[in-house]
């Protein structure tokens, strides 16, 4: 069960090797979390991540989960929930893709869209139902500022996050009053392997900062969290820029 500060005792990370996901897990283990499920594509990295969290004192399990295989989501995630209540689900998987390359190879673009959007719709709905029958829990969804307004430089990823963001907001409204809390997290540029080698954007931040923002959002039962917080204002301004001007911005 979550405590008075929204801190979970059990955590399921979808995208079990995600740097943001693992930073959040570490933070929550330092607080109240005792049981962690890392769901991801089987790999040595996944097992290594589990080992590291065990070193912090948590009881950690891994489970094979592929966002691109929604037909299995019900069975795979159902098994996790059958083992005991999950107080928080962190939907952290995602694929940035390579915009220039993916524009030339639509199949690769589709993979980005299917991972970030359809995969999340499927896993999100499965988890939402399980959380709802528990009558409690938080579903924390890693969206992105990229979804706030699609940019020339990464509109394939951006549009998939826009879809995910809209989906998660709607799901949050649908679950209002059911004891289940949906929180949409919109980080800016976070220094992880996903962004390694890319030129850093202004207000760049760290996985640890995202973890801190998630902890705060849980305590406040926030519906939307920006990381860093200043992005709320920045993006609000950018959203209202006329198209022509937005197009010419060097972002």
């Amino acid at each position: 069960m979550k405590d008075a500060f929204g801190l979970p005792q059990s955590l399921l990370v979808l995208g079990g090797t995600s740097e943001i996901g693992l930073a959040t897990a570490r933070r929550l283990i330092a607080r109240r979390t005792r049981t962690v499920w890392l769901a991801g594509r089987p790999s040595p990295a996944l097992e290594e991540a589990a080992g590291q969290l065990r070193g912090l004192g948590a009881d950690v399990h891994t489970v094979a989960f592929d966002a691109l295989d929604p037909t299995c989501h019900e069975a795979v995630l159902g098994k996790v929930f059958a083992e005991g209540d999950i107080d928080m689900v962190l939907l952290a998987f995602g694929l940035l893709g390579d915009q220039a390359h993916d524009e030339r190879e639509p199949e690769a673009a589709v993979r980005v869209a299917q991972t970030n959007y359809t995969g999340a719709v499927s896993a999100g709905l499965v988890c939402a139902r399980a959380l709802q029958s528990q009558g409690h829990g938080s579903l924390v969804v890693m969206s992105s500022v990229a979804g706030e307004r699609a940019r020339r430089a990464n509109f394939i990823y951006g549009s998939s996050k826009a879809g995910l963001d809209a989906f998660a907001q709607g799901l949050g409204d649908a679950l209002h009053g059911t004891g289940v809390h949906v929180m949409v997290v919109r980080p800016g540029f976070v220094r992880t392997r996903m962004t390694a080698g890319l030129p850093e954007a202004p207000l760049a931040t760290t996985p640890e900062a995202v973890a801190t923002a998630v902890e705060l959002g849980l305590r406040r039962r926030s519906e939307t969290v920006w990381v860093p917080g200043a992005l709320r204002v920045v993006m609000s301004a950018l959203r209202h820029l006329p198209r022509g001007m937005f197009r010419r911005l060097p972002i």
């Binding site: 979550k2 139902r129 709802q132 305590r219």
Partner: protein
Amino acid sequence: MSADTDSVPDVMGLDHTTVTGWGRTAPTAARLIRPQTYEEAAAAVRDCGARGGIPRGLGRAYGDAAQNAGGSVLDMTGLDRVHAIDADGGTVLCDAGVSLHRLMEVLLPLGWFVPVTPGTRYVTVGGAIGADIHGKNHHVSGSFSRHVLAFELLTADGGIRTVIPGTPLFDATAGGMGLTGVILTATIRLQPVETSLMSVDTERATDLDDLMARLAATDHRYRYSVAWIDLLARGAATGRAVLTRGDHAPLDALPARLRRDPLSFRTSRFPSAPSVLPEGLLTRTTVGLFNELWYRKAPRARSGQLQRISAFFHPLDGVPHWNRVYGRSGFVQYQFVVGYGQEDALRRIVRRISERRCPSFLAVLKRFGESDAGWLSFPVPGWTLALDIPAGLPGLGAFLDELDEEVATAGGRVYLAKDARLRPELLAAMYPRLDEFRALRAELDPQRVFTSDLSRRLGL
């Protein structure tokens, strides 16, 4: 009506309501059932499904004791009959859903008072036994269960048992937080009174040591005793307090005007706090100002002042839904006890709270007397301190964890009826009879029919 429940139609066809405790933290959804008969209560227990059920009274427990995510919550306030009063012997037999407020209305005119009252009258008899509550008279009268002669308990097998003191089931249920079954009725021994007024002595203490010395020296002269501490005061004033102690006023203490109707029960109520209040209303400054005014206003020493029962025992009941002033994030109440001989731990904790500058309204310090038999009953002989803190305060969780360590190291414990955040690992150290409780539960209720968010969170 049970406070802090909120019904919303549900997308996936479940008829669920979100429920919180008085602190309004950690809402969870459950099927809320309000039995009107014992048969309906038994049926509800039978049909409560895989996630079990938990009885709920007036929802005055601060944390998650009377909620049960995904399962059933049995609102017992629909069973609220007073069955029999023995006006000569001083006992009452009533349903568990009857509030102490109602009992006072019925009993005071007959010259009887409830044996123990907490800081609010809006608790049920079931909640009073479930949490084995204490009042300002604990040092004299013990906790609520000491005055319970018998109760009827609806257990997981659907049967109804009559439970009397001195039995394991009684001791597991008194303070057992609803986890042994649903109390349906109880027989309670009452306190005789000549009037409905209190005769109250007030004095100020300049700091914590002064306060502890005064309480230790003269508490035994009073049936009721409590001190309100200003935890925002720092430095030399750390722990400054106002002691209010007294007893039921005898008839001859009343002026002639009041003697004509000495037992009438009067209360006053102000309008409810609004349901939507901005976050951050309670800051160090506003709360500090309030505490300062309140301390200055208290007389240095005054004795024999006549007060209404509501003013002496239940000042907060004057403002219904006062818990809303803490805004959306809600608040936690931290209450612990450390035994006599552990005064240094108490001093350290008070100092840490003052230094931390928690925007906490007056905290309450009281000396407990002998414990009662309940296995999970909170009071043990020693000092108990209770304070409210906004849950949104940054770093509060980790800070309270540190206080828990101090409390546990000193052999003390926190009060489960107030708790919403204890680390489960500390529970067994704080409640040494936890294993007996678990064993009895495992035998009486192997399917875990009775389950609450509290029991899930702490592994009760």
